[in-house]
């Protein structure tokens, strides 16, 4: 690659960002086309994908060398000290180039080859089928149908081809309404609640300005409320703060006037926009990156960043939606400005509360495919995959994952997956290793021919699903059919395992999840052993064969369990002495589960 000037630098030091003793690991730094690799003297490898690099900084020269600080999008921060300034400069320049690609075709996904043939690749892409998902929800039915209006992306470029709309909404109504909505994103079905026959719909803001109306749009909303046979009124949730929505009116956009739409109940929710969220996360990271942080500075920083306030706002909005459906049996239409950030957050989180399917591993993939990928959340812009406008970058999807994590904390038995699953997905929205999150909408993805040139992440996660299973999951429990989270302020906690996932000194030193998982597996294994033995005994009794043979048979099954047992109990212990004697860390390490 033309950007790489130095491929190998020796005697590089890696500093621990939280250690007070200034202890450093010495090792060799390698620069490859896709990764930065550091191998320390214990042969421990640290891989950093170029696409994960958010910023590279060269600090002032010190006596021991030239410091290079790399901040990653997955919240890893590494601090190298390169002995010669020239090497440091070379690496710095190469990384600047490598971490910011101008074209999609230069992203890792287009060169990543996991040794699958084309049919395997295709099967991987077909794993999640949204038509199947709508069928599961119960559409099409007598009130909802598949519309072919957007089959050629003619009405809305950022929507998928397949859209579900009320059966009584004719094509002229749809076209008319789409002209009255920002970016043509007219109201369509996002989730259908089969029992309540109520729908969650989504769209963008209306181009109402101070007084404009659109009869087709009004008809379409009426059609949505009519599609609900139980309740004739529907909620329209504007997820923005009221002030922002009013300011939009001056630009010819705005929100629905209750007088023009019959049977709607309009509600502002007050989630802030992408720019507020971006700077909020920035503040949060600044605070918790401080060395020797005091408890008071941490909490005042957490407060002034506003991060948890924003998380709570998203959660409260999803609860509002759930209650409208469960208690009032009313359909809900959700929008924000363009309907691809806050709207995606609220619709997906609301569906997750309502439907336990989305709390399974596969269901969660479907949910992300439906409400985020297919409805055009601009992953590439929000994650900064390419060298583009930094003002478009925002941690909207990270917030969604954090809301889900808070739910897993409040309902430890309601989710099939564990925290590692969420972290792994977060890892890959930035990694550009798989095609799923590239591009900003379905049309763009088709143009990039992602299904032919890249691989889908989901089959790889499913193959590895053992790592992501929650051992406490109890799918049959009635108490968790519909989740009703408590959003009192003190239920929201700082997500250490996300924002400090690579700062292992801050983590719990032992993992409960792993041990329970192991026990669960061991239980299953032992039960199988018992069944095995019992059947063999039965066989023996039936056949009345030679006893010596049986004994051997029995032995062939048994010896495994004692070793299993010891490995279970002492695994944590044997790990200990290997690491630094003082700050030993054991248990789960998300970094080990990486694909990269």
């Amino acid at each position: 690659m033309e950007h790489i000037r130095t491929t190998k630098v020796e005697q590089v030091k890696l500093l621990d960002r939280f250690s007070t003793s200034n202890k450093a690991l010495t090792g060799t730094l390698y620069l490859t086309a896709t990764h930065l690799l550091f191998i320390d003297s214990h042969q421990k490898e640290t891989w950093i994908l170029h696409h994960h690099i958010a910023s590279v900084e060269k600090l002032a020269l010190t006596t021991s060398g030239c410091p290079l600080v790399i901040q990653c999008k997955n919240f890893r921060i590494v601090h190298f000290i390169v002995p010669r300034e020239r090497d440091c400069h070379d690496i710095y320049n190469s990384l600047l180039q490598l971490s910011k690609q101008a074209k999609y075709e230069d992203l890792y996904a287009f060169s990543y080859n996991p040794k699958q043939n084309d049919s395997e690749r295709l099967r991987g892409w077909q794993l999640i089928d949204l038509a199947e998902e709508y069928k599961r929800m119960g559409v099409p039915n007598s009130n909802w149908q598949l519309s072919d209006a957007n089959r050629e992306y003619k009405i809305c470029e950022t929507y998928p081809r397949e859209l579900y709309v009320p059966r009584i909404a004719s094509k002229p109504i749809i076209v008319g309404s789409s002209k009255f909505r920002s970016k043509g994103r007219f109201p369509v079905l996002s989730y259908y609640h089969r029992e309540k026959e109520a729908a969650v719909c989504r769209c963008s803001q209306p181009l109402s300005g101070f007084s404009a109306r659109c009869l087709e749009d009004e008809h379409l909303l009426q059609a949505i409320s009519k599609a609900n046979p139980v309740n004739r009124y529907m909620y329209v949730m504007d997820t923005r703060p009221k002030l922002n929505a009013m300011a939009n009116r001056a630009a010819g956009k705005g929100y629905e006037n209750e007088d023009n739409y019959s049977n709607i109940r309009f509600q502002f929710v007050g989630i802030e926009n992408i720019h507020v969220m971006r700077s909020s996360l920035q503040k949060l990271l600044e605070v918790n990156g401080t060395k020797g942080l005091s408890v008071n500075d941490f909490y005042s920083g957490l407060e002034s960043s506003g991060w948890l306030r924003h998380i709570k706002a998203v959660m409260d909005a999803a609860i509002f939606l759930t209650k409208a459906i469960m208690i009032e049996n009313a359909s809900v239409l959700v929008h924000c400005s363009d309907g691809w950030d806050r709207t995606s957050q609220v619709c997906s989180l609301g569906s997750l509360l309502l439907d336990s399917f989305y709390r399974t591993i596969r269901g969660f993939m479907v949910l992300i495919e439906k409400d985020w990928i297919s409805f055009g959340h601009k992953f590439s812009e929000r994650c900064g995959h390419l060298d583009s406008d930094p003002k478009e970058v925002s941690p909207v999807f990270t917030q969604f994952l954090e809301c889900v994590w808070h739910l897993t904390e409040q309902f430890p038995q309601a989710f099939e997956f564990n925290e590692a699953f969420l972290l792994q997905i977060h890892e890959h929205i930035y990694s550009c290793q798989f095609g799923n999150f590239l591009g900003n909408c379905q049309k763009e993805r088709e143009e990039l021919k992602l299904k032919e040139k890249t691989y889908s992440l989901w089959p790889f996660l499913l193959d590895d699903q053992k790592k992501y299973l929650n051992p406490l999951y109890s799918p049959k429990s009635q108490a968790v059919a519909v989740l009703e989270p408590n959003t009192v302020s003190f239920n929201f906690k700082f997500w250490r395992n996300m924002y400090h996932q690579f700062d292992r000194t801050l983590h719990p030193r032992q993992s409960v999840f792993n041990i329970i998982m192991n026990m669960n597996e061991q239980n299953k294994q032992l039960e199988n052993d018992i069944k095995d033995l019992e059947s063999k005994i039965k066989q023996h009794k039936n056949k009345q064969t030679d006893g010596v043979l049986t004994k051997e048979l029995l032995h062939s099954v048994r010896p495994e369990s004692p070793t299993l047992k010891t490995s279970l109990c002492f695994k944590e212990q044997t790990l200990l002495p290997v690491n630094d004697a003082l700050r030993t860390i054991e248990g789960s390490n998300p970094a080990d589960n990486r694909w990269s």
Partner: protein
């Protein structure tokens, strides 16, 4: 002499047969609770007319009242319980916060309890509250009924809606008077006789001699001294203490005179892997004249000599350097560097006393507000500084433990009196270093040895919890801070502690109000005077009953032979929701999850256990 105080029977003329049945059920339940094991007055001297054991047919409530309203008649100027109880009973409804359904029934105040007996149609059981656990009481009257809000020492908030204004006021006054009685020997532990436990059972459970046996196996440099046999050398130390073998009892007595409250340096923990020791004491009385004491210096010299030749020592002073210096003006001070060769002083200021109590009060206040915004909550969490105290305590304990484990140094910890933050540091350091102290028995022994027998003044410190309106005098949640730090350790090392959150919660509750005698009084001397050991039950025997184990144990425990070094970064410390939000958050999901963990673990034991049986049924050739 015992007495019974009787109330008239309520006018509830229900079916006598039903009543009889209810009565016997009630007796059974009381027996089960251990509130009524045998006739408390002794059958011979029992006034026949009122003794529940003579006449099981007596009306139900009368029975309960007579059974619970027992107490010796205080002779020395005290009041009788009967004088404090304005009215015995009223109809009331009890609201117990989210999750628990309200209870309706007859409310009744007795000498030690508040009890609510549900009406005959109700299926739920009798509800009991130890009056001692009431921290503050608030009454409001409106129309012809009233409301009493009880805030308990375990942070529970209860609301009683009572019929009748007079009754409300009278009951409130009775609770107020009875819950603030200060006399130890009339307190409930002296009357509590639970079934299945024998008096004096577990009082010899964790004697200092027991720990000495362990030390003696590991080293010969220490001996058990009975210099304090009659508590004359140090009133807050136990009878037997572990001291350097090279120092005789006379020298100890002289060193004691040089230390505040007579608390001379004594062994707290011997760390066998590095052969070093952890000591604790109170501040030396150097005073403005910079006095010295040869025996005290000799004692610390002997400690170093006993460890190994050339060993170093650190004195961890839990006050700031400035505060330690200021203490000289009032007769206290610190060890002069020149007088104690080989010892180096480190200052690690820790909060104590009133600021700590205020921190606790403010945190509990913040946790009670369900409506506050996220910003307000975070700023209150910061403002109360509780987690900063947790961090301080853990880091100082880590410092002491690191000194022993990594630098092979001996550590002496003291602040001023040496009965609060000193114990916090020494007990936490042991938990970090010593795998035995992380077992169920080991931890109980640690609490007994390093808190109860070490003379932490529980009676003074835990007189009130976070809700009391009374001006705090000596209250401080030092022990609670210790439990919180242990909880943090347990969160970071979920497999290394044999006990779970349940034990920590139980210790918190019992330290503030308990039917057991373990946390009574301020020192061993006082406990001896009150005959606590012979006249009350020990909490340890209560907790170690098999039926309690599932609540208290950590099912995932695996012995971890190494030191457990916690992270003390603010991102790693968490608010102890299980304690501070225990009564305000719905507990179901987390409890169900815990139950599931137990189930998986017991399944594991079952399948493992069943295997040999299968192989045992191996057909013989």
């Amino acid at each position: 002499m015992m007495f019974f105080f009787l109330f008239s029977v309520s006018g509830n003329a229900s079916n006598p047969e039903f009543k009889k049945k209810k009565n016997s059920e009630c007796l059974l339940r009381l027996r089960h609770e251990g509130l009524l094991n045998s006739c408390p007055a002794g059958v011979a001297s029992c006034p026949a007319s009122s003794c529940p054991f003579r006449s099981p047919r007596s009306p139900r409530l009368k029975l309960l009242e007579s059974a619970l309203l027992l107490g010796p008649r205080p002779t020395a100027g005290g009041m009788e319980f009967s004088e404090l109880i304005r009215t015995g009973r009223a109809q009331a409804e009890l609201l117990r916060g989210p999750g628990a359904p309200p209870l309706r029934g007859t409310l009744c105040v007795t000498g030690h309890h508040l009890l609510l007996s549900p009406g005959p149609q109700a299926t739920s059981d009798l509800w009991l509250l130890l009056l001692r656990s009431v921290d503050s009481i608030e009454k409001r009257v409106a129309g012809d009924s009233g409301t009493i809000t009880l805030r308990c020492k375990d942070l529970r908030v209860l609301q009683l809606d009572i019929e009748g204004v007079e009754a409300t006021l009278d009951i409130a006054r009775s609770i107020e008077a009875l819950s603030s009685l200060e006399s130890v020997i009339t307190s409930f532990p002296f009357f509590y006789r639970p079934k299945g436990l024998r008096l004096g059972d577990a009082w010899h459970f964790h004697p200092p001699e027991h720990y000495y046996k362990r030390v003696a196996r590991e080293t010969n440099a220490w001996r058990l001294s009975e210099v304090n046999e009659d508590f004359s050398v140090c009133p807050s130390y136990p009878r037997a203490v572990i001291v350097p073998r090279a120092v005789d009892d006379d020298a100890l007595a002289r060193s004691a005179r040089f230390r505040q409250g007579g608390r001379f340096p004594m062994l707290s923990y011997h760390h066998a892997p590095s052969g070093t020791v952890l000591l604790r004491s109170s501040q030396p009385l150097t005073g403005p004249q910079k006095r010295r004491c040869a025996e005290d210096e000799e004692l610390l010299r002997a400690v170093l000599a006993g460890a190994r030749p050339g060993a170093r020592g650190f004195i961890v002073d839990t006050r700031s350097a400035q505060a330690a210096k200021q203490a000289r003006m009032t007769g206290g001070g610190t060890e002069a560097k020149a007088a104690y060769p080989g010892w180096k002083r480190l200052h690690r200021p820790m909060e104590r006393g009133r600021p700590l109590q205020e921190s606790f009060v403010r945190l509990v206040e913040a946790c009670g507000d369900l409506e506050q915004s996220m910003d307000r909550w975070l700023s209150r969490l910061e403002g109360c500084r509780w987690l900063a105290h947790v961090k301080e305590a853990l880091s100082t304990a880590c410092l002491a433990a690191q000194g022993m484990e990594r630098e092979g140094a001996c550590i002496l910890v003291h602040g001023a009196e040496g009965t609060d933050s000193t114990l916090l540091v020494t007990s936490l350091a042991q938990l970090i270093l010593d795998p035995l102290s992380r077992t169920m028995t080991g931890f109980q022994e640690l609490v007994e040895r390093e808190w109860i027998q070490a003379g932490h003044p529980f009676q003074l410190r835990c007189a009130h919890s976070a809700f009391s309106h009374a001006r705090p005098k000596h209250e401080a949640p030092t022990f609670l801070l210790f439990l919180d730090c242990v909880w943090q350790l347990g969160r970071q090392f979920p497999l290394s502690l044999e006990f779970g959150e349940g034990l920590l919660l139980a210790l918190f509750e019992h330290a503030y109000a308990s039917p057991f005698g373990t946390f009574l009084c301020n020192s061993e001397k006082e406990r001896c005077l009150c005959e606590v050991r012979t006249r009350t039950h020990s909490l340890w025997s209560g907790l170690n009953q098999p039926k309690e184990q599932r609540k208290l144990r950590n099912p995932l425990y695996v012995l971890n032979p190494l030191a457990i070094w916690p992270s003390v970064e603010p991102q790693s410390l968490r608010l102890w929701q299980g304690l501070f939000l225990r009564w305000t958050r719905p507990p179901e999901p987390s409890e169900a999850a815990w139950e599931k963990v137990w189930q998986i673990v017991t399944d594991k034991e079952k399948t493992e256990g069943s295997q040999p049986t299968v192989s045992a049924s191996e057909p013989q050739p």
